[in-house]
């Protein structure tokens, strides 16, 4: 387990390993023979563990948040789908060229209500990671999600979109099949879907790859997920010609969930279980489920015209500028603090 943890998780994982040891039955007998009150020791260590986790997580840097968003034990789209919905049937293909497994989607039921779900999917082991191209979609993935989104629109089923990608694919195939056009088309078409669209950023919200599936009525973000115009490594390479300065770039880019909320780009930050969603998939999924329910409850009251004009206005206001003397800051979320 420790080998899979992040550097700043080390003290947590070490304490946990120690606790696991002490909880073994043979240790209990050993302690009794030595006259040690093991229960008291375990309780003390458990309290210490909580304190350490709280301390580490109270002071996360944007770079540490970035690493957490990529944690290999973090719940992925299919984990949330399994835990949030009663049922899910995966549908495949873009009806143009291929089935891109970096994107999954299909009809699901949320406490009995039919909804359409799409998600960007990373892999757990090496084989699955390769099959899913590390969650980086090609054009075919975006076109699959558009097909399902438009199906949802046609039959007035709410659409839930899970975002978790480092970036859209940028290889030869991506260019040949028009990944740029696919991302652009998705943003345009999602802006006109005649059904509520709830976006949940669960891990990495990587630039064009993320926004290509993130135009909707509500955007929610898990506490330790990130959302950025460029990966910090890329920004560091451009700014300082040194990818090792990614931690500095992560700070400059304002990519944490709290930053995105402050900028008005996401509507809510969903708190994760102490120590991160990867430590308790069920608890994280329960939070996501509640948030989706709440958003759909609010959105389902709106007539379609109202829904669409609000969705347009939601993106229309993004921007920070000044407009001549006397005009002050531009409309919307001028995030000058």
């Amino acid at each position: 387990m420790a080998a899979n943890g992040l550097e700043f998780e080390k003290p947590i994982l070490e304490l946990e390993a120690l606790l696991d040891e002490l909880r073994k039955p043979e240790k209990r007998e050993e302690a009794r023979a030595q006259g040690i009150d093991l229960d008291a020791e375990v309780a003390r260590l458990e309290a210490e563990l909580r304190r350490v986790i709280e301390q580490v997580f109270a002071n996360l840097t944007p770079w540490e948040q970035t690493l957490l968003s990529r944690h290999k034990h973090r719940p992925y789209s299919l984990d949330y789908i399994r835990l949030v919905f009663d049922d899910f049937m995966e549908l495949a293909g873009d009806r143009r060229a291929a089935n891109d497994e970096a994107v999954i989607g299909g009809p699901a039921f949320l406490d009995g209500e039919p909804v359409m779900v799409i998600g960007q999917q990373k892999g757990r082991d090496l084989r699955e990671r390769q099959r899913r191209n590390f969650g980086s979609a090609h054009a075919e993935g975006f076109r699959k999600s558009l097909r399902l989104a438009q199906m949802a629109s046609r039959f007035r089923r709410p659409l839930i979109s899970f975002i978790d990608t480092a970036a859209a694919s940028a290889d030869l195939r991506a260019e040949e099949y028009g990944v740029s056009e696919a991302i652009a088309r998705n943003m345009a078409e999602f802006s006109a879907l005649e059904t509520p669209v709830v976006v949940v950023i669960i891990g990495e919200g990587g630039s064009g790859g993320a926004i290509g599936q993130a135009v909707g009525d509500r955007a929610l973000m898990l506490e330790h997920s990130v959302y950025s115009v460029i990966p910090p490594e890329g920004a560091a390479a451009i700014l300082w010609r040194d990818a090792a300065k990614a931690p500095d770039a992560a700070s400059a880019l304002k990519l944490t969930a709290e930053d995105a909320r402050r900028l008005g780009i996401v509507d809510g930050v969903l708190p994760e279980p102490l120590g991160g969603a990867h430590r308790d998939h069920h608890a994280a999924a329960a939070t996501v489920k509640r948030a989706i329910h709440k958003a759909l409850k609010e959105l389902s009251r709106l007539p379609v015209d109202e829904l669409l004009s609000r969705r347009y206005a939601r993106f229309r206001r993004f921007g920070a500028w000044t407009e001549g003397p006397g005009h002050g800051a531009g409309t919307g979320e001028s995030p000058t603090r």
Binding site: A168, A170, D171, L172, A174, E175, E176, Y177, G178, S180, E181, I183, A184, R185, M187, A188, E189, S191, A192, S207, G208, A210, I211, G212, A214, V215, Y227, S228, V229, I230, G234, A237, I238, L239, A252, L253, K254, L255, D259, A260, L263, I265, R311, Y312, F315, R316, F318, G319, A320, W321, T322, E323, G324, H327, A329, G330, E333, S334, P335, T336
Partner: protein, 299 residues
């Protein structure tokens, strides 16, 4: 209220140094030509020939020896495209702010202004082409790599909205490295904002012609620039999702020679037609004539 654009530049302009504003820090095709000190002549980077600056003025900055299309700034582009004195600039008042307090951003804006004489990387307004009224937007790669931040996104969105309101075709020339990193997520959101505006324009049945020039990449190619009714491109322009450098690194050299160019995009169905610079005005006029009945009927 015809307003001339500020401070005409001396021509020819030194080649653009790479801006750090691009999505992946692409360099495009590194400097197209190196200025010879006296400004009398230039060396074409594509064919290495020495070309007189006067000759380049006549050819709209296309190398007379090899046909290489040098970059045009926004003002030169407008002059080469629209009817004389027909351009009326709009939204010049929009000024960038520094919403993230991003390192060195304020300085970069200041330098870009001094260098280009522009306030931002996009110039918008109304004009006519062979007598036909259009809403036009032109980006300038010299201003922070033509990157799309809040001002760029807002100006182009207003261009599309006015085109829809007034039922005038929208003509947009792009030359951009993509979303402006220094505005972070706010820049990323301009992709969605401008794409949603194109969607409304399309629903209003008002035509939109997108012209891809060197380079059009990243968040601009992956948003409004790829959503037009008709997409034209200049020959040899770098056009692609990621910068060339990034793509080549990832793929280790198994790439076609024309990877991420206008010609590659034409071959793969992403571009309607490659139009040499000298023919661009005529091509636009042809399309505007085709569309003009539709836009005049008011519904």
């Amino acid at each position: 209220m015809v307003r001339a654009m500020r401070s005409p530049r001396s021509s020819p302009r030194p080649a653009d140094p790479m801006s750090a504003g691009g999505w992946f820090g692409r360099r495009g095709r590194a400097r197209a030509m190196d200025s010879v000190p006296d400004g009398l002549a230039l060396k074409c980077e594509a064919c290495d020939e020495i070309i007189f600056a006067k000759a380049l003025e006549r050819t709209l900055q296309v190398c007379p020896k090899c046909g290489y299309h040098r970059r045009l700034g926004a003002q030169d582009r407008l002059e080469a495209t629209v009817d004389e004195d027909s351009f009326v600039e709009m939204d010049r008042e929009l000024q960038p702010s520094d919403p993230l307090q991003f390192p060195d951003y304020a300085d970069k804006i200041r330098l870009a202004r001094e260098k280009t004489g522009l306030d931002e990387a996009l110039v918008t307004g109304r004009a006519s082409i062979e007598g036909m009224q259009v809403m036009i937007a032109v980006s300038d790669f010299g201003f922070m790599g033509g990157s799309m931040g809040s001002v760029y996104g807002e100006k182009i969105t207003r261009t599309f909205e006015r085109a829809a309101d007034e039922r005038l075709p929208a003509v947009v020339f792009s030359a951009s490295g993509g979303a402006r990193m220094q505005e972070g997520l706010i820049a990323l959101m301009q992709m969605a904002k401008t794409s949603a505006a194109v969607q409304r324009l399309a629903r209003a049945r008002v035509p939109y012609i997108s012209v891809l020039t060197n380079p059009t990449t990243g968040g601009v190619f992956a948003s409004y620039a790829s959503l037009a009714d008709v997409t034209l491109a200049e020959p040899g322009a770098v056009v692609g999702f990621a910068g060339r450098r990034v793509g080549r690194q990832d793929l280790g050299g198994h790439l076609p020679a024309n990877f991420q160019t206008s010609e590659f995009q034409l071959e793969h169905g992403m571009v309607d037609r490659i139009v040499p610079r000298r023919d661009m005005r005529g091509a636009l006029a042809y399309l505007l004539r085709f569309f003009s009945d539709k836009t005049d009927d008011g519904s």
